[in-house]
Amino acid sequence: MSELGGLIHRMPITYLVYLIAIISMAGIPPMAGFISKWMIFQSMVGKGMIFVATAAFFGSIGSFLYVFRPLSAVFLGQLSTKHKKLKEAPVLMIIPMIILSLATVLYGVVPNMVLKIFSGIETSIGMKGLQLAGTQISGTNGILDPTIIAIMFGFGFVIALVLFLIHPKSRKVELMDTYTASEFIWTPELLHYASNFYAPFERLYENAPDTEKWYGALIKKIEELGQFVSYSLFSYKPSTIIFYIMTMLIGLLVWGGVLWI
């Protein structure tokens, strides 16, 4: 991942699709991921399951972290010279991507279209269905209206856009002209921060017991067992194979109670 970088300039549509995907995966409002996360949190908080909730909160923010890393390492940052001639993904791949991300946005803004089907299923098998009123979903202790959230986000975005447009136009500057304490750096790879992105986290548990070696040893043991079994049992002469098939058949018949009745 660290060799890539700055692909947004060559593959903008893929970038937008990935952005919508990670917004939904991290469970952030305008996208569908938020609705499911909100419902889970509602029920979890309603029942007061503290430890599960702590893990869920850590998981939600953690997912935001690890989905952001590919975004910044692969799409943003400096475009290295060898990727200058990359082209966008072929049209046939882009169409399904766009359809799916539009679906995510649609179900993020108006989730009740699909939630009606789910609550129908729930009532049909006897569970208490979801309380859906118009565009609102009411959980155990709160009401969520994703459409209003989307409208307000759009309203905020429009204000920001107006603020952006009425002020002086900014000067286009190419990517390598960045602040490097006014030193002259010519190779984009030097200016791309992608490898060991969350170093402080790794340092956090670096002297914790290393479980990889333990699992590695376990895997080796299983492989040896496999070789031992195949060496001792499966000698590839036809007679031994026929012998094993016959014993297995007899065993099945005995187990089936057919042979001894």
Binding site: S170, R171, D177, Y179, S182, E183, F184, I185, W186, T187
Partner: protein
């Protein structure tokens, strides 16, 4: 000295309206780039801390040229530092100002005969205000900043327009003195 590129003395008319209001804001909140190029920079901490308090004038240090409004050339400028100052100056967002401390920016000061120190900064970068004193005292520094504020308010701090209009003239001088502004050698690949 490149003779053939004429220097445009009179900058084109500054448009009214928005500029009047924004000049008030630009004058009262100047951000200084934390780039101390020479020996006069030791006077800046005194100007920032409690006795002289630059923040009263709305001034404060900023980390990057993109955010800064004024770049202070404090003291002598060696050839290598001039390359970096030019690079930082070009990275600043407009309108930007340049304040030169001490005699070294006027005629090379006590380093006038050195092979590494440039003599006159005015040939390479447009200077808005000079502050006298071989290491100007904090009072002089504050007085200089006060004058800079007056100049911005009265629309006379147009160094950045001069740089934009006579870019060819400045660039020619820079190339003449520095060979090339952006270095590409063993240490900068």
């Amino acid at each position: 000295m490149s003779k053939e590129i004429k220097k445009v003395e009179k900058p084109e008319k500054i448009k009214k309206g928005w500029d009047g209001i924004s000049n008030y804001f630009r004058a009262n909140s100047i951000w200084m780039l934390m780039y101390c190029t020479g020996c006069c920079a030791i006077e800046l901490p005194q100007a920032m801390t409690s006795r002289y308090d630059m923040e009263r004038l709305g001034m404060g240090p900023m980390a990057t040229p993109r955010q800064a409004d004024v770049i202070l050339v404090t003291g002598y400028l060696s050839v290598k530092t001039l390359r970096r100052v030019i690079y930082a100056y070009e990275q600043m967002s407009e309108p930007k100002y340049l304040v030169a401390f001490g005699p070294c920016a006027i005629n090379g000061g006590i380093y006038y005969d050195s092979h590494a120190v440039i003599k006159q900064l005015d040939q390479y970068l447009p200077i808005d205000i000079y502050i006298a004193g071989c290491m100007p005292k904090p009072e002089a520094v504050m007085n200089g900043f006060k004058d800079l504020i007056e100049m911005i308010k009265s629309k006379k701090a147009t160094g950045w327009r001069k740089y934009r209009d006579n870019n060819a003239w400045y660039k020619a001088n820079q190339i003449h003195a520095l060979g090339e502004v952006r270095i590409k050698d063993e240490f900068h690949e």
